[in-house]
Amino acid sequence: MSELGQGKIVKVAGPVVVAQGMSGAKMYDVVRVGEANLIGEIVELNNDMASIQVYEGTVGVGPGEPVINTGAPLSVELGPGLISSIYDGIQRPLDKLYALEGSFIQRGNALPGLDRDKKWPFKATVENGAKVTAGDIIGEVQESSLLLHKIMVPLGVEGTIEGIKDGEYTVDTPIATIKADDGSVSEIKMMQKCPVRSQRASKQRLAPDKAMVTGQRVIDTFFPIGVGGTACVPGPFGTGKTVVQHQLAKWIDADVVVYIGCGERGNEMTDVLTEFPELKDPKSGKPLMERVVLIANTSDMPVAAREASVYTGITIAEYFRDMGYRVALMADSTSRWAEAMREISTRLEEMPAEEGYPAYLGARIASFYERAGRVACLGAPDREGALSIIGAVSPPGGDLSDSVVQATLHVVKVFWSLQSRLAQQRHFPAIDWLTSYSFYKQYLQECFEDKVMAAEMDGMIKEAMSLLEKEADLLEIVRLVGAEAISKADQISLAVAKSIREDYLHQNAFHEVDTYTSLEKQYTMLKVILHLYKKGLEAVEAGIEPADIFKIDAMEAIARAKYIPEAEMSKIADIANQIDSQIAKL
């Protein structure tokens, strides 16, 4: 440690501290700052002066206090124990901090990310004497009822495995050794450390091949996200960004969900913490929390740790991807992350670009989203993992020309545009069907088991979307000249478009049944609505007044279809017959 030198603080300005006597320090080395032993990271070097962003409050720190370099970059601990954990931005377990220091976060306590005392049942999957390389799976731990944790050979290690056997181990007990060809021996533990600011290696990047089902009708039907894809949800406050994020975290078709609460409300994290353990996975019926890792760096927690929180989160997500799982990462909100960058940059007295944001804002955002993707994982056995990123953006005043939104739209492939106009009408999720887009639409078909149904759905989606577009034009005309001026067929189109909006796209996240809709139910619901369209048009051809058609009872049945449980889906399909018989009576 001595050759790294012990520096001395010369300047303190908010979260940035400058120390001198730091010769030998590297960029992004982690340091301990001052007598309070605060955790910080070097972000600028100038001769023997180092600028340090400090992850904890710096009140009471002054010049002359020591700075100690740990010589290692900011890293996370990866291994059994991640699942169901709640961490702050630099992977300190908040539950353990609570036990240690009470309800308010104190300073200077560095706790390890993984529990050192807990023993995990390890089951070896390779034999002694096997040749292994980095990324090879050598054993398994049933970490939660939903997740089988695979133990992998760390990067940079290869050779012959020795001394591996089943048993109960803590994360830092050696479970095997690997003897390299040159005779050097590495001890393998279940835990590995990994720096957060660079991407974990994989064998090969693959293109998305499938959409991820989320159970949210407007998303799945019109703007699906691909496996390994990227999406962003920008919107002014009050439009339900966080509810969208929570809904996805709950229902998205992923094996592991990493949820980063980045500079957001404390009560929202509590909501996640209290609600998720009670929610059941729709497939297995197990508590959803058993596949979730939470990173909570709320807005009142130190700003530098907020900057680090997205990296901590994504590195953990990549680790699970490398086991061959489908991982979804939610970051709420990337604007707060960008603001943290801006604050650090201001304190470093860097020349600002737009709106005071640093010039590297776009590059940082792009490289973050680029860590998403479907990959062929390193090592044996051959497996594919995927990491999808869904980032919320909170543009000031809802202005989409904001630097963070623009930098994000450059890289993401799905754009869910939240509108306050819709939110005010209590149309949730307030995703605007006309301005949003997705580049993964073609992959939705792959999610249907029934290929005929898939092709039919594809046609229905196009028809529904063109109806919605037509509605926007028609409403313009109605506004100018009144509802009587449009043709009867157009009146049918308007009514059906309204039904698509209110009965299909509108979805109540807090309703027991409506909160999740399977693809099959989406198909059935949409089919019924479009059946009404077809029958309605036929009826006006035959001289029936549109007003009479709108009075049939089936209209109300359609409106209530979303509340019909999945098990009684035939009731929805049956509405089509009601439409036929009731229109026939007119």
């Binding site: 010369v10 300005a13 720190v61 908040l94 309800s103 409300r265 909570a296 009408q425 209530r560």
Partner: protein, 465 residues
């Protein structure tokens, strides 16, 4: 004996640079003694070597470079707390100004506070009845929530804040309530109105006031909410009380922050406000909440005036991103003499779903407010349509919705600043107003609930026709 420095090298705006200072720590406070012996207070914003940058709370008028002395107090700002702070009035920096005795402290608390560990937060889910229909019925407030009032110049936000402080209760429990009121740059009249209102109802005995008036030093406002919240934390988490904090007016606070930022020549963000405004506001707002295993709670109602009623102005915008909803006041309703003039459509309480329903308010609450919202939104659209096309051109349906919207404003929104409605009264009024529609039009309400509640109101409707 504290060391004194007479090495002030420059003064600019509210900032002072002092040289050759030994042992200064970031964030600590200093005493500043002027040539005439008067004392001012300051806080260290930056230390670089032995140079210290100090922000002077009382302003720098009359400060000279030769005579002014600085004493480092070696600690951050602290508030002396004890149960005796109830019923007292303090200045914006926590000094008693009501001629009462000095506070004999149980403890001294750092006013900067510490972030609440998210793991230790308890979710706000207990309904607070405010007696105001637009809040209770449509945007329910729950314990531990932060719900700001977005107002504008000339709108009655003071009256609403006073009404909240007076009427707020928790249903069915005998909890101890306290009100902490922080005035930042408001007028004497506004502050006095509040004090008088609380005095009249006797609530003053359960209140703590921190007063920084419009003619008090602007920089002091940066400290005022921190003192107020420290008092609130003491009462809530040490004494187990249910504390309602009213911060009035946050726009003035943000302007003071902007002044400091400009004096430090920082790169400004939108409209000259510093880039860290969000973080700074969050460290205040996030001090609201509940903590596991603690009876107390801090519920916060910040009041802010939106310049030109612009919701996208940085102060309301950033506030809205941190708080759990917002109550927005409407100038057009105010002109129609509808009081309190709550603009229902853009107002929102994010935690409403947690605080209502069976066992908390009533089973029909959620569906009912969804339906009221939807119907009122449609009614507003019809109103607009009527102004373009004329009422005669409205379809039968549009005319019905427009009439509903008018009734809704006159009877549901409008209740005056003294009427205290129970939640049952508010909910029943909602049903009554909705009874003009057919059951099939009430798409947002569960059929069973319509069957259970609606007949009572339909019958009334029938007989009155």
């Amino acid at each position: 004996m504290l060391k004194e420095y007479k090495t002030v090298s420059s003064v600019a705006g509210p900032l002072m640079m002092v040289q050759n200072v030994d042992g200064a720590k970031y964030g600590h406070i200093v005493d500043i003694e002027l040539g005439d012996g008067s004392i001012r207070h300051g806080q260290i914003l930056q230390v670089e070597g032995d140079n210290v940058l100090v922000q002077v709370f009382e302003g720098t008028q009359g400060v000279d470079l030769d005579e002014t002395k600085i004493r480092l107090l070696g600690k951050p700002s602290e508030l002396s707390v004890s149960p005796d702070i109830l019923g007292r009035v303090f200045s914006g920096v926590g000094i008693p100004i009501d001629n009462g005795p000095a506070i004999i402290p149980d403890a001294k608390m750092d006013v900067n506070g510490n972030p609440i560990n998210p793991y230790s937060r308890d979710f706000p889910n207990e309904f607070i009845q405010t007696g105001i229909s637009t809040i209770d019925g449509l945007n329910p407030l729950v314990r531990g929530q932060k719900l700001p009032i977005f107002s504008g110049a000339g709108l009655p936000h003071d009256e609403i804040a006073a009404q909240l402080a007076r009427q707020a209760t928790v249903l069915g429990e005998g909890e101890e309530f306290a009100v902490v009121f922080a005035a930042m740059g408001i007028t004497f009249e506004a502050a006095q109105f509040f004090i008088d209102d609380l005095t009249k109802t006797g609530a003053i005995e359960r209140s703590v006031m921190f007063i920084n008036l419009a003619n008090d030093p602007a920089i002091e406002r940066i400290a005022t909410p921190r003192f107020a919240l420290t008092a609130a934390e003491y009462l809530a988490f040490e004494r187990g009380m249910q504390v309602l904090v009213i911060l009035n007016d946050m726009t003035n606070y943000c302007e003071a922050l902007r002044e400091i930022s400009a004096a430090r020549k920082e790169v400004p963000g939108r409209r000259g406000y510093p880039g860290y405004l969000y973080t700074d506001l969050a460290t205040l707002y996030e001090r609201a909440g509940r903590i596991k295993g603690n009876r107390g709670s801090i519920t916060m109602v910040p009041v802010l005036t939106m310049p030109e009623d612009d919701k996208t102005h940085p102060v309301p915008d950033l506030t809205g991103y941190i708080t759990e909803g917002q109550i927005i006041l409407s100038r057009s309703l105010d002109r129609k003499s509808i009081a309190p003039p709550v603009d229902v459509l853009p107002s929102l309480s994010r935690l409403k779903d947690k605080g209502i329903g069976e066992g908390k308010t009533r089973e029909d609450h959620a569906d009912l407010y969804n339906q009221l919202y939807a119907a009122y939104a449609k009614g507003k659209e019809s109103q607009e349509l009527a102004t373009i096309l004329g009422e005669g051109a409205l379809s039968e349906e549009d005319a019905k919705y427009m009439k509903f919207a008018d009734e809704f404003e006159l009877r549901y929104i409008s209740q005056g600043f003294t009427e205290n409605r129970t939640i049952e009264q508010t909910l029943d009024l909602g049903w009554e107003l909705l009874s003009v529609f057919d059951d099939t039009e009430l798409k947002r309400i569960d059929v069973d609930l319509i069957a259970k509640y609606m007949p009572k109101f339909r019958k009334n409707n029938g007989t009155s026709d």
